[in-house]
């Protein structure tokens, strides 16, 4: 069991190292960092000074080591375009994205599991067919079109919800939250639905097929034979056994949620990390790009580590795998 944990952590570290190397190469070899920071008009002396200060004259492996040390402390230097520390830019934008992503994940999980269970239990009802058809369409619709469609219906035609931004936010320490004001909550609805929709359809289809599978299995037949009530079978027996793959997929999808937030944030002009990243790509703002890459990679590695650990807790077979006695 310990070996399993150690191996998961080692794999995560290797991924982070690879990502750090990519981020470093971007910083060092794409464009000239000195020109980017000082502009074209700087004197040769200024340039030489900055080159020395950034340590760009040192051997490349040494530079990579220094980059790594800074990255671990989340210091990615100064944004070429905005002239501010990348870490403070990220910290400023982080709450918006985290609130959006977490709420979307919860939305997708709750509605997805609910609809999936419904579609499995009442698989022949017309409503279940409608749900399945809509989910099929949802898979082929690009995220940004879902967002635009929602804006058209709820902001342009019905005028119920704001079409962009976070609304009013409240500061709690350095964290700004939109969860405590009415306009903040209203602004969250459409982005959350847009971002969660794809995950919702995936989770729903997974829950439905897993559930149908479990309902056919022997232990459910025996439970029925023992006279356990249908409701009890559905929720205590079937749903429980469905949850293991669902948790895995949902955990791995959290990274996907963060990445698709790039699109959702652009559609709704949401002041989060994704929008920051798209801007950075447009203006080749390498420090911001590499910081974002590093951040997303860290989220990915952490979530897949967490999924591994949950697996360990849920599936007792892993505990007695190779590595245990």
């Amino acid at each position: 069991m310990l070996a399993y944990v150690v191996r998961s952590i080692m794999q995560g570290l290797i991924v982070m190292l690879a990502v750090a190397f990519i981020a470093f190469s971007m910083f060092r070899f794409v464009g000239d960092p000195v020109v980017n920071m000082l502009g074209q008009e700087a004197t040769l002396q200024d340039r030489a000074e900055l080159t020395e200060r950034l340590g760009l004259n040192d051997p490349v492996p040494l530079q990579f080591g220094r980059f790594l040390m800074n990255a671990v402390q989340f210091d990615f230097g100064i944004s070429y375009r905005q002239g501010r520390k990348v870490s403070s830019l990220i910290a400023e934008r982080l709450p918006a994205t985290v609130e959006l992503a977490v709420l979307s994940a919860i939305f997708a999980l709750v509605i997805g599991i609910g609809l999936g269970v419904f579609a499995a239990i009442r698989r022949d009802s017309w409503l279940a067919h409608v749900v399945m058809t809509v989910s099929l369409i949802g898979v082929s619709l690009p995220t940004f079109l879902i967002g635009i469609g929602l804006i058209y219906i709820f902001a342009v035609e019905l005028r119920w919800l704001p079409s962009f931004g976070r609304g009013e936010t409240v500061k709690i320490g350095w964290w700004s939250t939109g969860l405590l004001t009415t306009s903040g909550l209203k602004s969250l609805i459409m982005p959350v639905v847009t971002l969660g929709f794809l995950q919702l359809t995936l989770i729903m289809r997974l829950v439905r097929s897993e559930m149908l599978e479990v309902m056919r299995s022997d232990f459910v037949r025996f439970a029925r034979a023992r006279g356990v009530s249908e409701r009890n079978i559905e929720f205590r027996h079937a749903l429980r056994n469905t949850m293991i793959p669902v948790i895995t997929i949902a955990g791995l999808q959290l990274g996907g949620v963060i990445a698709f937030a790039i699109v959702t944030e652009t559609v709704f002009q949401w002041p989060g990390l994704g929008a920051l990243f798209v801007n950075a790509v447009q203006f080749v703002d390498i420090p911001v790009m590499s910081a974002y890459l590093f951040f997303v990679a860290a989220v990915f590695v952490l979530t897949s580590l967490m999924v591994d650990m949950i697996y360990l807790a849920l599936d007792p077979r892993l505990k007695s795998g190779p590595g245990a006695k």
Partner: protein, 318 residues
Amino acid sequence: MNQNVPPPPTTGAPAGRLARAWDSDLAYSFRTSPVAVFAAVLALVMVMSAIAAPLIAPYDPFDPASLDLMDGFTRPMQPNEISGKVFWLGSDGQGRDIFSAILYGSRVSLLVGAASVIFSLVLGVGLGLVAGYVGGRTEALIMRVADIQLSFPAILVALLVFGVARGLIPPAAQEQATLWVLVVAIGLSNWAQYARTVRGSTLVEKNKVYVDAARLIGLKAMPVMLRHVLPNVMGPVLVIATINLALAIIEEATLSFLGVGMPPTQPSLGTLIRFGQQFLFSGEWWILFFPALALVLLALAINLLGDWLRDALNPKLR
């Protein structure tokens, strides 16, 4: 798009090879699946009209001389109040015909989609073949990179590649190069799936007698891989390629929508959607709606075809 020409009938008097193709399992499964026929007709019409855009399009949307601000914001199917011109799907603020713009736009979308699929297919199949055939450290390295790549969403990888390419290409050449930068960016974000599949089937094929025979007559690794193993691992690859074409078209549209794709001078469907979004609030819905519809129909048709192909080629479902 409005001319629903069915694909030319192949029944006639099929002879020889054609007859055999008509009677094959694949063709039979195609004929008996209405969804597949519908998707194929839709895809064929859209691809054909995109290729023949200069012939079909009623206006040249990129000829500034033909644009007239007087024609701006004409509603679909209604004659313009001043000039009396009719635009089937309406016109945008500069008097550009939306229908023509969609024809030329789907041309760009299809070109980028197809080229990036070919790029990732060649790269992925090549690496997968080498990994499976050579094995050892090469295999471990290639598959590790593929794992890392697969755990990041394609859109993120494509954005990164795009940003890096922007930094490396001199500003003067950027507009010209955008199309190929997109092809590389989307291609690089999708190769890993091919590599995985091909490596898997190569591992199986490698141990078959015909490969031993080829090696025994003294062929080097390269010809064995390309001429003997490759044809036998291509089946599943074609299914992935079809579904990936739809994904690549959507990915390109997403990038262009984000403003990091095709420039307005050479718009794809995504660029048109990005452009149309600003008229959403002023009531000119057609500028956004028709390009979006074209994109969804194109992706849907290709997706349905891919689904059908996957089921038709799956021996378990026969």
